[in-house]
Symmetry: D2
Subunit: 426 residues, 4 copies
Amino acid sequence: MKITQQQIADLNKKEDSVFTSELDLIANRFAKKGVDVNVIVNKVAKFQVAIPSWALGAGGTRFGRFSYGGEPATLEQKLDDIGLLHALTQSAGAVSLHIPWDVPEDYKAIKEVAAGHGIIFDAMNSNTFQDQPGAKESYKHGSLSSTVDASRDYAIQHNLDVIKIGEQLGSKSLTVWLADGSNFPGQRNFQTVLKHTEDSLKAIYADLPEEWKLFIEYKPYEPAFYSTVIQDWGTSFMLANACGDKAYTLVDLGHHLPNTNIEQIVATLMLKGKLGGFHFNDSKYGDDDVTVGSIKPYPLFLIFNELVYGIENNPQNPDLAWMIDASHNTKDPLEDLIQSLEAIKIAYTQALLVNQDELRAAQQDNDVVKCQEILQDAYRTDVRPILKAARQKAGGAIDPLAAYRSLAVRNGLITERGTNSKATGL
Amino acid sequence: MKITQQQIADLNKKEDSVFTSELDLIANRFAKKGVDVNVIVNKVAKFQVAIPSWALGAGGTRFGRFSYGGEPATLEQKLDDIGLLHALTQSAGAVSLHIPWDVPEDYKAIKEVAAGHGIIFDAMNSNTFQDQPGAKESYKHGSLSSTVDASRDYAIQHNLDVIKIGEQLGSKSLTVWLADGSNFPGQRNFQTVLKHTEDSLKAIYADLPEEWKLFIEYKPYEPAFYSTVIQDWGTSFMLANACGDKAYTLVDLGHHLPNTNIEQIVATLMLKGKLGGFHFNDSKYGDDDVTVGSIKPYPLFLIFNELVYGIENNPQNPDLAWMIDASHNTKDPLEDLIQSLEAIKIAYTQALLVNQDELRAAQQDNDVVKCQEILQDAYRTDVRPILKAARQKAGGAIDPLAAYRSLAVRNGLITERGTNSKATGL
Amino acid sequence: MKITQQQIADLNKKEDSVFTSELDLIANRFAKKGVDVNVIVNKVAKFQVAIPSWALGAGGTRFGRFSYGGEPATLEQKLDDIGLLHALTQSAGAVSLHIPWDVPEDYKAIKEVAAGHGIIFDAMNSNTFQDQPGAKESYKHGSLSSTVDASRDYAIQHNLDVIKIGEQLGSKSLTVWLADGSNFPGQRNFQTVLKHTEDSLKAIYADLPEEWKLFIEYKPYEPAFYSTVIQDWGTSFMLANACGDKAYTLVDLGHHLPNTNIEQIVATLMLKGKLGGFHFNDSKYGDDDVTVGSIKPYPLFLIFNELVYGIENNPQNPDLAWMIDASHNTKDPLEDLIQSLEAIKIAYTQALLVNQDELRAAQQDNDVVKCQEILQDAYRTDVRPILKAARQKAGGAIDPLAAYRSLAVRNGLITERGTNSKATGL
Amino acid sequence: MKITQQQIADLNKKEDSVFTSELDLIANRFAKKGVDVNVIVNKVAKFQVAIPSWALGAGGTRFGRFSYGGEPATLEQKLDDIGLLHALTQSAGAVSLHIPWDVPEDYKAIKEVAAGHGIIFDAMNSNTFQDQPGAKESYKHGSLSSTVDASRDYAIQHNLDVIKIGEQLGSKSLTVWLADGSNFPGQRNFQTVLKHTEDSLKAIYADLPEEWKLFIEYKPYEPAFYSTVIQDWGTSFMLANACGDKAYTLVDLGHHLPNTNIEQIVATLMLKGKLGGFHFNDSKYGDDDVTVGSIKPYPLFLIFNELVYGIENNPQNPDLAWMIDASHNTKDPLEDLIQSLEAIKIAYTQALLVNQDELRAAQQDNDVVKCQEILQDAYRTDVRPILKAARQKAGGAIDPLAAYRSLAVRNGLITERGTNSKATGL
């Protein structure tokens, strides 16, 4: 199953062109505020988000998993799925692999498949939260933080192995999500496990290739239900500082306690030059990992408002690694990802519409009402015409979801792969 | 300080008419989906929200209160303020009084002031959470739920007095927010205080005039920090059923535990014919009482989606009593209310754009992706042109906030009232 | 592996008898308050909690599962495990089965195994949250609430089948935990699914045998991450009322939003005669299902304080169905259950120590300080000597955990069953 | 009103001496575990907690305040109240002043009053969250973080003034609780206000006397309801590091988002040598500021477990500043403080009972069940006999609350001060 440029061009021809009139009205309105919408169209056209390899299979909960047909069973098929996404949206030009679920058998072949889809290899993800069949050491009581030396060494070595795999694929960064923690008060000594974790991360950092970056995630709970070693941005930031200049904090939207002001965390990290990457998803309760923008689109915009400000004003940060980290039990994963990409780009575009000079002046005057008006004027604007123009310009489908359904992609995949295929790692 | 129709007409003439072009594009787009935007403009033009008398003074927190100038010191001045709001927005044609803060000295005069502004008297609010100077009984340990018979009787009588005041003003409903609860485990017997509360509410209900309705609010915490007698919708619903057909649950957006699915509560109450009214505000943490739509605009839309559905499909409910219940320490209260009214009407309008038949069909098909698309298509639409058209039609200002500032209303009020006036009850 | 009375008697002989001196001091202290500790010892000795069949295997999270050795692979082995627990604690004389994980192949044989351990069959649990291999209908989009008639009928029939299985085993109640809900706003019509759910429950209720009870659980989220049909006690209570006198609400400690006052819910349900049963576990974040009393022992005591009060004062409720519903990734499940049983009985005993007359008087006087003192005096008392005495009296081990380790039970089970056995359903 | 040693001695004579038998049993039990209870009695006898001057008046909420009689109207009277507490408990030998509420008129006289009660002056508290009558600059839009230079300078100067007052009284530390934040998205630029805050704190730090320490509090929300500049420990820690070695983080138990693992934060800060002080209170929902130990006694114990461990193992931290920060609308404040002191010392004592070597060994073995047993064995022990012995040894009342009531202290205060006195600052 492959989508050709011609197919997309044909579909785009049938699309209603009313969005160009809408775009003109928006452009005129914001020109008066000193915002050039054409510049924004170009920025949006270039914006790329990595797709994690695990988002292409059917995720589930501890209570079960409902399958769907045509699931990609191999790494090649996962790349093919991202290729479909990228052809439609021109925004999914990267993949983020999870090791050991996605170890290539033939590196050259895999790189060719990816290149054929216009996909690069973004951050590599290690896994020290599960015991693999035949594993020599267990992570049952921790990995990088374990009090068992052998488990700790095993986990460090795994991360080094992941780096080596990534080097062969052209990746330049390693994301460490450390699930280590405890389920019961007293189970572990907080100070000891924190020291072990710092030492283990330093050991990995010491072997990090010159051009690589290390991203340290944080999460308050799950799968550990009493404590998690890297429970918040403060701990991640402290550890990144202990490692060195190439270590950064990575923010996953679902990894916060109820009501956390995430945008403020983003601003703080950018001010200090320590924001490395971003995992997008959405949630109402915990790390629900549902479609980006499906639950809290306004906070997503507020976060992008800080990101856009920081990209402009904080050159001390690296280019951010953007990734979607959602799962889905009830949607076709590709449709889910199309919706997530749309939501991310809507928030990004709205943030670009904010006139930062005007906002800065209102903030300086403590004109609270006007500050809110400025943000909400951008947020309330229907920016979908900008996204359509950007996609058209980049060679993608004006309406990717409609195109996906029109081309009957899922049926095609089921025909190719059957209804019982299952993604590695799930 | 009064705003004349001529002033508004003059300001409207200066407004950019580009919104009519935007409106046409919206109307065309939704006409294809079978939604008539003209009908929506009319509905929005008629939509009225009550302003509570206490929202016009400077609210504060337990840590303090920052005043602003021109605060209304009397009930007449409060009505004048609502009159200004209503002149600008044509959406604030009702007031909700709080007794004993707003007992009229001269009923006839007050009714004339209100009528002069086009304001009616919506639900009356009783207050049994504070001891008034000279009070014969104390509410320190509870009012309608008190184990002290005299306190309970005193609180019941207060509610009956409030009804009598309301009758003279033309109000038709009483809202009971019961702050009773406890700060410490063991302090009160849950069963006893619930029984007392049920009996007290029944006593008030027994004296409710024929055409009146009783609204029972719920709230999980604050000012009681361990338990609150009417802690959730389930308790309110149970008590409303115990009272009778004229008793309803009232939902205040800020009165829920973190992550509560409020729209589901709304749907349940409407299905059972027990939703009586709504208090609008917004919050990130608790009952923060900040400007409507300033924190969570998407949940507000989702709630309106249920309200619009219920108004259409659940005739067993009464006309809902809409009220804003926000406070503000950092904004001019009138500007704050203009922003709240705008946010409420945006959410209402977006909900009206949802094609309920199409949604119902997608739900029946379990096409989860399409269901989300339908809701988000409505939500992502910039409906402000519809609001402008509705306001223009109703004789209000196309842009009420700009008009308010252009007319220098606050300065006018300060000139009239000085900088040290203070609203009763605050 | 079986534990004999003689083994327990031998172990008890070796136990330090200092607890009897401690018991005397407690008895003397509370005798002065009019509380007879001997009566409490007897009540504690009789207290029995059902063990769910799924608690005996290694639970996990969506991120994985760490096995341990000697896991019971069959229903017989599960009963044997509970038999070990009961021999040690004399408090685990009941099992709660989960269908289809625990369908007996030979009813007579299973009943004999249970009887041999002194175990009765408590509430039956149905499962409509997973699709079983070969299932004719899918629950992917709901079961009792589904808009698909066939799925709904299939789920109803499953519940009726569970009742039939239960009848053959001597069970007298059915617990319905309905996982139905939605992951995205708009996915389902709240009113429709609530009506379907009410109708489905009524259909099950209509076929409930005369002496049976129907327990309706509630839960705010997980596995559904936007809405759950029976989201709170209010919804469960409403549905139980709609069904009839034999339908009750069942409270699971982990099924609440953050900060919910659960003890107040318990009191309300008992006042209204609608509390049917209780699922014990503990949690810090969500439905973490960790060892009872390991995180929040004081709230557990406060809940028992309401339960003890209600059992005494609300004869309109049935005998409550007590069950542990915990899972565990890091502990030996039998040790975990021993700790849970201990925590439950500690809380129960502390609640029994509260002098209800004295508390009632202090509440009536609004002597808030004294109310707290009364509760905390009971809570701060070290009641473990009472538990030891009760266990000794009932023929159990004075210190069950020490006995379990001393008898090397886990090693025995591993010898019998091997290290790779896996419980059905997990 | 003063309590003499003779009065206390007389009351102690009448106390039941059964606690000494209970103490012996505890001592014997823990001697077997290698824990010397006599050492613990001595530690508890020496333990002192500062009382904040504002805890002696009737606190309230934004909804009101219920007064009680005999409230201390002056700083002298506040010290007298603490003197009463200290005489009874021998644990309240310090006061923490709040400026400008407690500016002494006559330093020498105030110091004599304090010395007469055996009270020292602990950390000074500044107040930049309220505008005082006649203030030259306003904190309406922020203080140390303000974008208005004059407000920022004014707030810095206020803190310097507070230090000077403290120096005259013998205090050695300044606690900065910065309420600055925002109520609405966009209101303030996160990066700008954070930089201002860092600069302001450095300016204060630069003038800190040689032997002084600077404590930086954090709080997620209230009174600001969208963002707070120092929202969490990570931000406080970052700022303390920026200031220098004499700057520390101060933890207030009520200043966390729901479900935060506070004990882990304590451990992290102690490991890094940056824990400066502690504000004790309790809460169920937000910063409820209710009696210590009244809601969550087990988490309090877990926190003390980390504190005791850190005091032993982390000499890089200073002696911690302990303070109660609770308020109360429904209790006599002195009784409330007696209950808080009792709860703090119970948790401290229980933590001292933990055999750290045994716990360390179980943690090293990953014997999760045993780790929990060790902690809970200490927690479940009724340590009140130890507190009684410690108090008796130190010259306090064996049962301070009973003594307080027996001596009719409140009546005495009402006689002296009347029923309408009101504490400064409230």
